[in-house]
């Protein structure tokens, strides 16, 4: 990948993560983005605990992180033009995340053909070989997402901010 392409993908990833109100509310950040791959992080926050007795983060944080990181990998897997919508997302929870630790999710787009992309992801809290959860998801370019993308491009060209 050329450095220009990487800069372009980084800028897009920033837009697609920081520009998403829910991702911001959870404090999700993107760590890396490549052609058909992405890494994101969910910070440990007391306000996102699911079980007060153990202090473990709510499964919903993992769900949102996995959905977002898979979406990002699908987006670049499709070539980085249209923001795809999630068709389905399956998550297997391996073990509770350790209280106090951030969760890191790594996604790879296995294949994108035509309108559909298949993505696999792993979430862990430091050791990628000891995952908290794994996920597989399918994404699709929809008319709604295509129209939104076109509106976004027009507003970027006009130098406006999104949202």
């Amino acid at each position: 990948m050329t450095p220009e392409r990487q800069t372009f993908l980084n800028q897009l990833a920033e837009l697609l993560v920081d520009g998403s109100p829910h991702a911001s509310a959870l404090g999700l950040t993107h760590e890396e983005v490549g052609e058909g791959s992405a890494v994101m992080r969910a910070p440990y926050k007391a306000e996102l605990i699911g079980d007060p007795e153990t202090g473990v983060l709510h499964g919903g944080v993992v769900t949102a992180l996995l959905d977002h990181v898979c979406g990002l990998a699908a987006f670049t897997g499709f070539g980085g033009e249209d923001m795809p919508a999630t068709l389905d997302l399956r998550i297997d929870y391996m073990r509770p995340a350790k209280p106090g630790l951030d969760i890191i999710a790594e996604a790879v787009c296995l294949r994108s053909h035509g309108l559909v992309a298949v993505v696999r992801a792993t979430a862990h809290d430091g050791d990628a070989d000891d995952p908290v959860a794994t996920a597989q998801a399918a994404f699709m370019i929809t008319r709604a997402s295509k129209e939104a993308q076109e509106r976004a491009e027009r507003s970027i060209q006009r130098g406006e901010s999104l949202g």
């Binding site: 520009g19 998403s20 109100p21 829910h22 991702a23 911001s24 509310a25 959870l26 007391a46 306000e47 996102l48 605990i49 699911g50 079980d51 007060p52 983060l57 709510h58 499964g59 919903g60 944080v61 769900t63 949102a64 992180l65 996995l66 959905d67 977002h68 979406g71 923001m83 919508a85 999630t86 068709l87 389905d88 997302l89 399956r90 998550i91 297997d92 929870y93 509770p96 929809t142 709604a144 997402s145 939104a148 993308q149 509106r151 976004a152 999104l162 949202g163």
Partner: protein, 142 residues
Amino acid sequence: MAETSLLQTLLDAPYVSRFGIEMHLSGDELTGVLPFRDDIVGNPLIPALHGGAVGAFLEVVAAASLITSQELSRLPKPINVAIDYLRPARAHDVFARAQVARSGRRVANVRVEAWQGRRGKPVATLHGHFLIAPALRGGSGE
């Protein structure tokens, strides 16, 4: 622990109260509500709710349905969930109802359906398995 207090524990969890998730119990019928708020929007351009926020809400409703349909000694833990996104969830409240397809001594299978304007046009469905710990009752064994 009584059923209602475990439901309260679920609702009082920081994440659940942070996003204002509500449960309405009419007799034995439970309806979950995810009230619309700006911070559950995933894509502000459409605008559509975040798939993760909708998925998480469905998980909470699934757990709540297990708590209210039987006496458990602790919160159900998800083993796996599969979420189908049927339509974009728009910038409105989301409602959901769950059906416990099977509930054994350790594992339960739950199906949840979420809708917005019209019940007949669901925006997402979830099915998943949860680890459960039924409260021990004297003598009955189950």
